[in-house]
Subunit: 347 residues, 2 copies
Amino acid sequence: MIKRRKSRVVYIRDIGVGGDNEIRVESMTKVPAKNEKEIINQINELEKAGCEIVRIALPDLESCEKIPVIKKNTNIPIVGDIHFDYKIALKAIDNGIDSIRINPGNIRDKEKVKLIVKLLKERKISVRIGVNSGSIDRKKFPFLNADSMVESAMEHIKILEEEGFYDIIVSLKSTDILTTIESYEKFAKIRDYPLHIGITEAGTKFSGSIKSAIGLGILLYKGLGDTIRVSLSSSPVDEVMVAYKILKFLNLRENIIEVISCPTCARAEFDVMKIAEEVEKNFFNLRKNIKIAIMGCVVNGPGEAKDADIGFAGSGKKVALFVNGKVLKIIEPENIIKEIENYIKNL
Amino acid sequence: MIKRRKSRVVYIRDIGVGGDNEIRVESMTKVPAKNEKEIINQINELEKAGCEIVRIALPDLESCEKIPVIKKNTNIPIVGDIHFDYKIALKAIDNGIDSIRINPGNIRDKEKVKLIVKLLKERKISVRIGVNSGSIDRKKFPFLNADSMVESAMEHIKILEEEGFYDIIVSLKSTDILTTIESYEKFAKIRDYPLHIGITEAGTKFSGSIKSAIGLGILLYKGLGDTIRVSLSSSPVDEVMVAYKILKFLNLRENIIEVISCPTCARAEFDVMKIAEEVEKNFFNLRKNIKIAIMGCVVNGPGEAKDADIGFAGSGKKVALFVNGKVLKIIEPENIIKEIENYIKNL
């Protein structure tokens, strides 16, 4: 029902971004590359959660030396986040990074950008030009608004284009939702590069999820966005979970479970809210179109519960398990997770 | 920056909804009216949290008898939610309810609606016509979509209009975000009644907040919505908190605190995420424009932290307290809440 903006396709290794490709889900590790074991674990956890592209910070040359071992022990493509130093960009590319993100405010020297581009073209590596409201060159752009965000991106895009380089993904993130939306809208009118969307420094897990849901929700509704990152002061796995929820709620991706729960009332004799949250936490990364219902009681469950693939409804201190609308047996509430696991195993 | 749709103003007791009035925040109690102490407590908690209009379920005549004692012990206007029985509506109005919500699918008899209208006009009480995807008359409207949502509302609105009654607020809630948006858009083209907006059966606190944030975010961005309810399988106080966050993030209401926190990294020696969540929980109902920053360290706090009214930044195992960008003293992390309380007291 949402009509996506037409964009060109840019690859991050083998993952197509833009065009008719599914909207991708990204995240960023919160562990320094130097801690090789930890970062490998985090990337593998992210992959398990459904993350399709992962970014890692490369603050120095030493971090770049870890790229080969990280790549060897993980599967999803890795984007290096590079600020300030073009030498880091060159070394990252040389060491096998799949894509790089450059913050335009930071590598100021045109000649150095050209050096990077030469290597990018040789290795067929894409670039994200990632504008961030916090790091815009305020001497050049004294006013922080959609125009300066777009101009800041265009300045660097033009350097790349002059070199005949077009494998570009663009992001224009502000902490302010309305500025972010206006920036992407303005940019979408002048170029067809795929858009990486996000709201920067959104906040804590709860508050930041709400802020990201509003901002990304509006952008996606307008058809803007080819790959998304939810930025949270929380685990990167949470970022992936929230990203999929946003896409699911707008019918933009399939194969995501849905947990239906009633608002609970005095009739419920087991903790519906707690169990619904647990079910979500346990199965959010299941890439299947399954609807799970957790209802306080059989009597007044909303109509939707009947459509659930598997459901549980309070029955005294116990819980009735129903599959495709029919009650199969009565179980203890603490066995709900196990029963869902069994159901999935037998699909 | 968001341009609101022009609507007429309808009053719920003394609270104006629509027109140039601030977008109102509503919730609904999750306690039966018969439990008079509990419902009074919950309404007073909701008021403290910033709830401006509260709805209570009135499933039977007995519940209506509690209206006077509930009103006597609470301050905010009370809307009675009435299904099925017009006698309940009449009794609720007679017992002093401030407004009623009728689900059009349920009171089918035109003559009975007329009886209610007569009393509404006498007492100058407004009505919300609350269409809900789950309770649409499927015999009349076999297809559940925006058109049938709007037609279902119009059927009842016309009965009211024929009686010269226009103090109407309208809601058109579906569990599907896109259907909800389309319904409100279609309705907004044909009538100027204020809109109560919400996504019905959104889900658990976390997931339902994300779903509501997307749906309400898009509607509000389009200028639609004069009073909002976030429906969660959670405490109604959470619903109010989320509603204010949504309005704040779209710059639609002022006097809401903002908590900025860094994404945290290895440098942070205190639990930034946990404390940021605690600060949000403790102060979300403070109706002041205060920005509070919780940063892992002083060195790399984002630019925004400097703009914070009061901030805390890790300094070894302790925390530096800064006000208006200047460090005042070093404190223990466990005293952060107390320091914020002191700061607010001295404003």
